[in-house]
């Protein structure tokens, strides 16, 4: 059995750097998940409908040869796509960088830098990681206002700068790991025993990740070899039928079906994997959650059920449409509730450790 470098008094919440990484990371995960839920309810479907309407209107302008109208409709479509793309990117970046922050919190005992340097790196990373999704979110609204260059706006410039800063911190963490691993006596685990709730979350997370990989492989093989007709063929049919003055309703039906097929499968694949990682990340913090074993188990079960239900509900949108979409949103909300419960337990643990003089 390997010895442990960390126990509940010396691990995740024992230094200011690890606390900053842990709480900053969980804040980002919750914020990203909330944004995802709100986006799915209020923006995703209306936005897709508007894109379809404008594309249809552009096709209707082909028979009359009205190029100005076509360009106007595509200008609108560009705006809707940017609105959707920046929301999705803000959601995914917040959640992913939040996971990374929590993992860095756990790894702090094996980062070979001084406590002061670790704290500076933690501040740089958490601030950059917090600004990054906010800046991405703002891109659509800020546009090119007051921008020093003509092709990208301030929000994009800020997102690029903080993204670079965060990347530099990741490299410095890598160097810190290398320094530690090269030193003598670099043995032992950074995690104390996870306990029953932790094992439940870990097993659930592992199974979801496995399922996500199979799902992704099957989807990629289908898209590559069997999907027919593809996007290009449908678009060609739309323009040629519109130019010949024929109906394009069937083509748009196929186009909408294809986009829904791709969107739902990609979202399912992404959410199976991210929820799998979420379960694993929260398995690792279980030893530091100061709640009774009974409540830890209850919240762990809630998080596992919500994490399995969310992607299942997304894929059921094929059959049940918005009802399944609503169930996916409820699953997301349940997962957020479980995370907040664990966050509450972690905050309580800091009080216990501070009273015992455990923070440095």
């Amino acid at each position: 059995m390997t010895s442990t470098l960390a126990d509940t008094n010396t691990g995740l919440l024992s230094t200011r750097a690890s606390r900053l990484f842990a709480f900053g990371g969980i804040f980002l995960i919750v914020a990203g998940m909330l944004l995802g839920d709100v986006f799915a309810i209020f923006i995703l479907h209306p936005n897709n409908a508007r894109i379809g309407e404008n594309m249809y209107a552009a096709a209707m302008a082909i028979p009359s040869g009205d190029a100005d109208a076509i360009l106007r409709y595509f200008q609108e479509i560009g705006g809707f796509l940017e609105n959707r793309g920046t929301k999705v990117a803000a959601h995914t970046h917040a959640v992913a960088i939040g996971y990374l922050a929590v993992l860095f919190a756990i790894l702090q005992p094996v980062i070979g830098w001084s406590a002061e340097a670790k704290l500076r790196l933690a501040w740089t990373f958490v601030l950059s990681a917090t600004i990054l999704p906010f800046a991405i979110f703002t891109i659509h609204y800020a546009g090119l206002a007051f921008s020093p260059v003509s092709f990208i706006g301030w929000a994009s410039i800020v997102a690029d700068i903080v993204g670079l800063l965060a990347a530099v911190v990741v490299v410095l963490q890598l160097v810190g790991l290398w320094r530690y691993f090269r030193s003598a006596g670099a043995t032992g685990s950074v995690l104390p025993a996870l306990g029953a709730p932790g094992r439940l979350l870990l097993t659930g997370g592992g199974l979801l990740l496995l399922g996500g990989f199979f799902y992704g492989a099957a989807y990629a093989a289908y898209i590559e070899n069997l999907l027919d007709p593809g996007e290009l063929e449908i678009l060609r049919n739309i323009v040629s039928n519109a130019a010949a003055g024929q109906s394009v309703d069937a083509d748009f039906g196929a186009f909408g079906g294809l986009l829904a097929f791709q969107g739902i499968h990609r979202a399912t694949h992404a959410h199976v994997n991210t929820m799998g990682l979420l379960l694993m990340v929260f398995a690792f913090v279980q030893p530091y959650v100061f709640l009774s074993e009974v409540w830890k188990k209850r919240w762990a079960r809630v998080l596992v059920i919500a994490s399995f239900a969310l992607p299942v509900c997304i894929v059921l949108e094929f059959r049940f449409g918005l009802i399944a979409g609503g169930a996916a949103d409820i699953s997301g909300a349940l997962a957020i509730a479980a995370i907040l419960a664990f966050l509450f337990g972690l905050v309580r643990q800091t009080g216990v450790q501070d009273n015992a003089g455990g923070q440095s």
Binding site: V239, A243, V281
Partner: protein, 164 residues
């Protein structure tokens, strides 16, 4: 920290550093240009059709499809690298607790780390002239990942106590 932990954690953080620098480079030098070109090609396809130039419309739509494919693969490269980096670190934290011999744990960790580099790299190669080679690498990488994760998950379930 055992060898299997170090392999996975160092590879995972390395993958994340790589993909974050790629993301920065991509956002600054490629993404806006690609998106603008995609929009321009798609709109041109419709405008050419409005001028009864169906060949020109098809040409523009072909260009749109090629750009859209390139864009998707670049985004997939970035996203998969980041996700796999997080996955490697996560398994790296508990790799020593899997219910296997040390040799099997190290082999599974090595397979997972190598496949995690191979798979997104194969996806990226598919954006250029090495499309077929990229496809082979991506398939090999994804098979390796599925096997390694399967071994890890069974190991988690086999181990009576997963940490410590």
């Amino acid at each position: 920290m055992n060898r299997e932990n170090r392999i996975l954690i160092l590879s995972g953080v390395g993958l994340l550093a790589l993909t974050m620098f790629f993301g920065f480079w991509y956002a600054v030098f490629d993404e806006h240009q690609t998106l603008n070109a995609m929009g321009y090609s798609l709109a041109t396809g419709f405008v050419e059709a409005a001028g009864s130039n169906i060949d020109g419309a098809y040409q523009a739509l072909d260009q749109y499809a090629a750009l859209a494919r390139e864009y998707r693969q670049e985004i997939h490269f970035h996203g998969h690298f980041a996700f796999l980096g997080l996955t490697l670190i996560s398994f790296g934290l508990i790799a020593h607790t899997l219910g296997y011999s040390e040799r099997l744990r190290v082999n599974a960790a090595s397979l997972m780390a190598m496949s995690a580099f191979l798979f997104p790299f194969g996806v990226f190669l598919q954006t250029g002239s090495l499309h077929e080679a990229g496809k082979i690498l991506a398939v090999l990488g994804s098979v390796g990942l599925v096997i390694a994760i399967l071994v890890m998950v069974i190991g988690i379930m086999r181990s009576a106590e997963t940490t410590g």
